[in-house]
């Protein structure tokens, strides 16, 4: 299976009273709380952590896009990815991704992703999220009722821009261009593999399956809740008569490894910071009217919206997080067993690992990465070895990289 090192780049210095006295971590958290001098160190620590993950043999490093928030400081994931492309040579670079409806004109995405693909020699995985409501509706002022239509139109334009070899005109509802003619075009032909992150929306499943893209379920509910969503996805695949392949899906899991189960409490502060501060999102921002379809809101995924989930998660204790599977924490042996179980339950071939979270200091993030790479990763590599992935970048050497000592 593919083991991908995922980074959110959280702002790590929110005040102790943040969740009590501030409305939200997203949309309207005042940037007077942002200290540029401290964030300078955070950004550079995070880039070091990503670079280290490649050295330790992770198959990919992942970055992502968020706006107006202290949850993840990457309004432009492409900047971080391009820094990583220069600092790495083996790992796939997963930009998960560019929220297509937010770019005007959207060929900007086609251009920048083509640049990254060419610079990296074909190591790019192109992620196309619809984007959270906080990022798209509230942060970037998109109209909920037309967001998905705008997104799919932008997708069609980007794909055509990547594939066409002659200039063409594009007469869309949201974008009109007389000459579409991107330079550069992607290194990978006809285009980089496409991954679509989602949170259980039925229309995202349909669209992802119909286009033969990878569906990535990103949530912090952990694998136990995630299983109901992933089962829904696999059922939908079957209904559509598609052949099962675990690499058709990805899943994000928070993992923390220590020498012993007892020692793993060293991650408690970072876990609590993450769930109580980084995910301090009030009811109202997660699922505004029109963001999801009536059908999705009536479904299982809709009934457990980000609003209700985060409220519940913020009240959890350390033991609750472990019990619910929000985090997989413990000795290498504990993590190996639980994570292997999770992957097999979820039937996912692309595992995204969040090993740095909350206000976890760099030393602890590197320790977690080292222990995971040396003590857990080797035991997981061969899961799903009977399947091939057709959603992996061609510029990556598919042999198993050797961890550095």
């Amino acid at each position: 299976m593919k083991l991908c090192f995922f980074h959110l780049m959280p702002y790590q210095d929110l005040p102790d009273n943040f969740e009590k006295d501030y409305h939200s971590v997203w949309v309207d958290a005042p940037n007077s709380l942002f200290d540029p001098k401290k964030a300078h160190h955070m950004y550079n620590d995070f880039l070091d952590e990503l670079e280290y993950a490649e050295k330790m043999g992770f198959d990919a490093i992942c970055v992502n896009e968020h706006h107006n928030n202290a949850y993840g400081m990457m309004p432009s994931p492409n900047l971080m990815a391009s820094a990583m492309i220069r600092a790495t040579s083996k790992a796939a670079v997963v930009v998960l991704g560019n929220s297509l409806a937010l770019y005007n004109p959207p060929i900007r995405v086609a251009e920048e992703m083509a640049m990254m693909d060419v610079m990296s020699g074909g190591r790019l995985i192109a992620g196309f999220p619809l984007g959270t409501a906080m990022d798209t509706i509230f942060g970037y002022g998109q109209v909920p009722a037309t967001l998905r239509e705008k997104y799919t139109e932008a997708h069609d334009l980007v794909m055509k821009a990547w594939k066409e070899r002659e200039p063409f005109a594009f007469n869309g509802k949201f974008t009109q261009l007389r000459y579409v003619n991107i330079w550069p075009r992607p290194y990978q032909q006809p285009h980089p593999p496409i991954w679509v992150p989602g949170s259980g929306s039925l229309e995202t499943w349909d669209w992802t399956i119909d286009n033969d893209y990878v569906y990535c379920y990103l949530s912090y509910s952990g694998y136990k809740v995630g299983k109901t969503i992933m089962d829904g996805f696999w059922d939908e695949m079957e209904r559509k008569g598609k052949e099962f392949n675990p690499y058709h899906a990805g899943f994000l899991q928070i993992v923390a490894v220590s020498e012993t189960d007892e020692q793993a409490k060293e991650y408690k502060d970072a876990i609590e910071y993450f769930f109580k501060k980084s995910l301090h999102i009030p009811a109202g921002f997660g699922n505004p009217p029109g963001y999801r379809s009536v059908k999705t809101n009536a479904s299982q995924a809709g009934s457990s919206t980000i609003d209700s989930r985060t409220k519940q998660l913020s009240d959890f204790t350390w033991e609750d997080y472990l019990e619910a599977g929000n985090v997989i924490v413990g000795s290498p042996e504990t993590v190996r067993q639980e994570l292997t179980h999770a992957v097999k339950e979820l039937r996912v071939g692309n595992l995204m690992l969040l090993l740095q979270f909350g206000d976890m200091p760099k030393e602890l993030a590197l320790k977690n990465t080292t222990l995971f790479a040396n003590e857990v990763m080797p035991y997981m590599r061969d899961i799903w070895s009977e399947y091939d992935t057709r959603w992996w970048p061609e510029g990556v050497d598919n042999s198993v990289p050797t961890p550095s000592q």
């Binding site: 109209v143 009722a145 009811a283 109202g284 505004p288």
Partner: protein, 261 residues
Amino acid sequence: MPETIELSLRGGDFEATVLKDGSGPPLLYLHGAVGQKGWAPFLSALAQQFTVYAPYLPGYAKSTGLEKLDDILDLTLHQFELLDALGVSKAHVVGHFLGGMIAAEMAALSPSYVDRLVLAAPAGTWRDDAQVADLLAMTAGDLQTELWSSASSSMSLSTADFEANARLKAELAADRMVDLTAAGKFLWPIPDRGLKRRAYRIKAPTLVLWGENDRIIPPVYAEDFSRLIPQAEVSIIPNAGHLLMIERSEVFSAAVAEFLS
């Protein structure tokens, strides 16, 4: 009881439900962002002097075609087609919030359709110093509170108003996700869609009504409409919130009837 008219427009692209009652000169009532929940007492009061037509806008209740409307121009043209289909060539137009914005656009785009115009807490402009509430970020609970002049206002209502109020609160919460999907298309993120460039064309004598305690769009916005519309008078209704026509239905319908007569 009002009659329910089902219209099919443009080859079935738009199925429109229109409530109709009363007799006298035609009056078109256009509801606001949170929709209309049946036939309210203020419509009954107006129906005593006017033939009242109260359509559900596309995307509300059983009226369809929202996805065929890209912008406020499309939505406004839809109202003219509705009037044509009803056989009404000229009407008084009364609109609340989103409906007020459409009513003003109708009067600006095609003045001959509009006899007299009543704008109740209309949307359509923007003030940095007094921002329109963010309806999309409100929970059902927030919305139920913010739509009224104050949480305890129902204590001072007549029995009929109190019952209408209580019924409405429950239905507003239930329908919020669908209703505000439609409203968001024309009001989000900023409800200024260019009316200020067109309002000079409004020929109809205009009454601008506002609830004194409107917490969705504060009464200071009345200044925009009195400045932009050539013949506009403003009246502020005391002890009323955003849903002034529900909360103070007798005062509201009396003010409207007097202006139109």
